[in-house]
């Protein structure tokens, strides 16, 4: 089948590509950029994408798909549907499933389950067996089965000794260790520790719980020569630490979740559990530091930390409710509304954070917009004004604090694996 994306703005920072042109895709392969003849238009399904941007497919490197174990909250299929609807052609899924992704068998199960989807799923395997922090997982075998990184997400790798071994061992395959940075003994709380937590009477988690692990991890990355990727960075000091470490040439990268640069702890005053996450929402000062970190490249990627939870669980009393919110279907809108339209990031920088850097970190080739290449594309309308409606989410869950929020900017289509998602539907191309 042939499709034409007509008069679309083609943008790819890696290729220095920035032109308005027609794009012909045949059997999922980019056949022509420009120079289309009448025949091409006649036989193809034509999409008029004038004023839209066609960019390399976006990659969310931090999602929780809940399968296996909590298929009531999300499945690989519904999670992938949400990813496509949100503008992503690939995700990396975290290993805190039940059972956890700590065996080649589970990695293969996830690869198999997602193999027919438009969205590519790259499993992140547990760094230690059962995520217990006691012995390192069979990384070589996991890698061969399809894992792209290792993490005990949900918590940091428990001890410096085990982290050292994980970093040294993973050097053989050049895979990063993704760290959820939180010192357990300082993090027994339900929100950011501050004056606000004091007046709300909620136990607090101080910034230093994050900073201390970021510091430890930087030092061990330097010592071992391994690669550390900081997941969902949230505090100002942590951003400063990563910035300094990068200057010293240490192999460290970082991602930030949209809720951490769009919301502050002030939202907790409603006691709405949709504002309960881990790391917790921080302060205005932290939000500014995160945006600064995105601007100057200290923070390499934006990733959602998409964390589906059932309504019953999120409706629990605040201190008992689980952490985390949905992110896949709102994050492009939040990034455009809060970063692009406010002139913090350029469109090219957004492509770096969403399409280029996650793949570089995970050693996955960045799709090219070039004749002969497979079409792996996200189509964006940066000016589309829309209202978030959680009832329309493709995700199985509904735990988003952004319901009814007015956003500017959205993905209108994604193309990958000879499939296209457009106007709420998937079809083969």
């Amino acid at each position: 089948m042939k499709i034409v994306l007509k008069q679309v703005n083609l943008l790819h920072p890696g290729q220095k590509l920035n032109e308005k042109n027609d794009l012909l895709i045949e059997e999922g392969i980019i056949k022509k950029i420009g120079g289309l003849d009448e025949e091409d238009f006649k036989l193809a399904k034509v999409y008029d994408f004038e004023n839209k941007y066609c960019v390399p497919g976006f990659f969310d490197m931090h999602v929780h798909l809940r399968e296996p174990g909590r298929e009531d909250e999300e499945t690989i299929e519904t999670g992938c549907n949400a990813a496509a609807a949100g503008g992503f052609t690939a995700v990396a899924c975290m290993p805190n499933t039940n059972p956890p992704i700590d065996s080649a068998e589970i990695v293969r199960f996830i690869k198999e389950k997602s193999s027919k989807h438009l969205v590519d799923v790259y499993p992140v395997a547990a760094a230690t067996l059962a995520r217990k922090g006691e012995s390192i997982a069979p990384m070589l075998e996991l890698y061969d089965a399809g894992a792209v990184a290792f993490s005990d997400d949900g918590s940091a790798i428990k001890t410096a000794g085990i982290l050292r071994n994980a970093l040294e061992y993973s050097r053989m395959i050049n895979a990063p260790i993704i760290e959820h940075c939180e010192e357990e003994t300082l993090a027994d709380g339900a929100m950011n520790e501050s004056f606000t937590s004091t007046i709300l009477g909620l136990p607090g988690i101080p910034n230093v719980a994050e900073d201390i692990i970021v510091m430890r991890d930087i030092m061990l990355a330097e010592f071992t020569g391994g690669k550390v990727h900081i997941a969902h960075i949230s505090s100002k000091n942590a951003v400063d630490l990563v910035r300094q470490a990068k200057k010293r040439g240490i192999r460290i990268t970082a991602e930030v979740a949209p809720h951490h640069f769009t919301l502050t702890e002030e939202m907790l005053k409603t006691f709405d559990t949709n504002y309960k996450m881990n790391p917790p929402l921080r302060t205005r000062v932290d939000v500014e530091a995160l945006i600064e970190g995105l601007k100057d490249g200290t923070i390499d990627c934006i990733a959602s930390d998409h964390a589906p939870h059932s309504i019953e669980e999120k409706e629990m009393e605040f201190i008992f409710a689980p952490n985390g919110i949905l992110g896949l279907e709102t994050q492009i809108g939040l990034v455009f509304s809060e970063l692009v339209h406010k002139k913090h990031l350029t469109l090219n920088q957004v492509i770096e954070k969403f399409a280029v850097n996650p793949r570089k970190i995970l050693n996955i080739p960045v799709p090219l917009i070039k004749e002969g290449e497979a079409a792996n594309l996200t189509i964006i309308d940066p000016d589309l004004i829309w209202t978030v409606d959680i009832s329309k989410f493709k995700s199985k869950a509904r735990n988003s604090p952004f319901d009814k929020r007015l956003l500017a900017g959205r993905s209108i289509s994604v193309i990958n694996n000879r499939k296209m998602f457009f106007e709420e539907k998937f079809f083969a191309i």
Binding site: S194, T198, E317
Partner: protein, 307 residues
């Protein structure tokens, strides 16, 4: 005269007029409590649920007695949140209670925010009887009532709350209420028990109990949680008593006029010595009686409001 809100969730933001109205009403009920027949028919036909997810016999009994004195029908629902967690969800429990057509819910829970959440899912008037480390407004009110009863006023008085401020809902309600009523409020405790940013509430912080005793007219002494604290945020109960315990010797040396409050239950020999707990400085048992009167006032004012 009526209150500006149909719930009592905390003392943060409650206007002075409301607190004054509760205190004045409590004074009337305090007189009722001195009569041979201590019962008034004011809340006859009203159904009140005491929803206690945390073991707190004192607060529950005080509320229950206040309800009986006002002739309300009372239902007690006591459970521990950990056991409730396994089966029925909090929301289901509340829905069941709603189906019984209740007028008022008194709630105690170890999670902050539960009373606020209740206002979203229930039509009843909600009274917070203690939520997490957040607020315990009727305790704050009865402390204020007890201070005025003894000192005649609050305006300009120096009131210090001593103990584990970071893990106390009593402290916050006291701070908000006392400040609204014009007192100068301070807190005193070891640095590990002072919560982040408390000075931003306009509260002075002491780490020296002798200094706090010397400079204050009233000392509200909080209970030290034996199980939780020893060895973690304080080295030992012995050391706490030695450096922060309220003893007769300390009071005699620094301030003979001081008034001592304690929300109970007391740990004798830890935060307060027996001599002080039973001695002339304290009003601990008056606080218990005042507690019933203040709760009657709150129940009455909310229960007779036109919703």
């Amino acid at each position: 005269m009526s209150l500006s809100s149909r719930h009592l969730l905390g003392l943060n933001g409650v206007p002075k007029e409301d607190i004054q109205l509760i205190l004045d009403t409590a004074r009337t009920f305090r007189e009722v409590l001195e009569r041979p027949i201590k019962k008034v028919p004011t809340l006859q036909g009203k159904t009140i649920v005491n929803l206690f997810y945390e073991n707190s016999t004192r607060t529950r009994i005080s509320f229950e007695l206040a309800q009986k004195r006002l002739s309300a029908d009372t239902i007690n629902f006591t459970t521990s949140a950990s056991s409730a967690k396994k089966g029925e969800t909090f929301k289901d429990t509340v829905r069941n209670i709603e189906a019984m057509k209740v007028d008022m819910i008194i709630v105690r829970h170890q999670s902050a925010g539960v009373p606020q959440y209740l206002t979203r899912i229930s039509k009843a008037n909600i009274i917070n009887a203690g939520d997490g480390l957040h607020e315990h407004p009727t305790q704050g009110l009865l402390d204020i009532y007890s201070i005025i009863e003894k000192k005649g006023r609050l305006e300009g008085l120096n009131v210090c709350i001593a103990g584990d401020i970071a893990h106390s809902r009593v402290a916050l309600s006291n701070i908000f209420g006392l400040k609204t009523m014009g007192a100068n409020v301070s807190v005193c405790g070891p640095t590990t028990m002072i919560p982040a940013g408390i000075e931003s509430l306009g509260v002075k912080v002491y780490n020296n109990i002798d200094k706090a005793i010397a400079e204050n007219n009233v000392l509200n002494v909080l209970r030290i949680q034996l199980e939780r604290d020893a060895g973690r945020r304080i080295p030992s109960l012995r050391e706490y008593h030695q450096y922060f315990g309220i003893t007769a010797e300390r009071l005699e040396k620094r301030n003979k006029e001081i008034l001592i409050l304690h929300p109970g239950p007391i740990n004798r020999g830890v935060e307060i010595s027996s001599e002080v707990a039973d001695g002339p400085y304290q009003v601990i048992l008056d606080q218990v009686t005042n507690g019933v009167a203040v709760r009657m006032a709150v129940l009455y004012l909310l229960g007779t409001m036109h919703n």
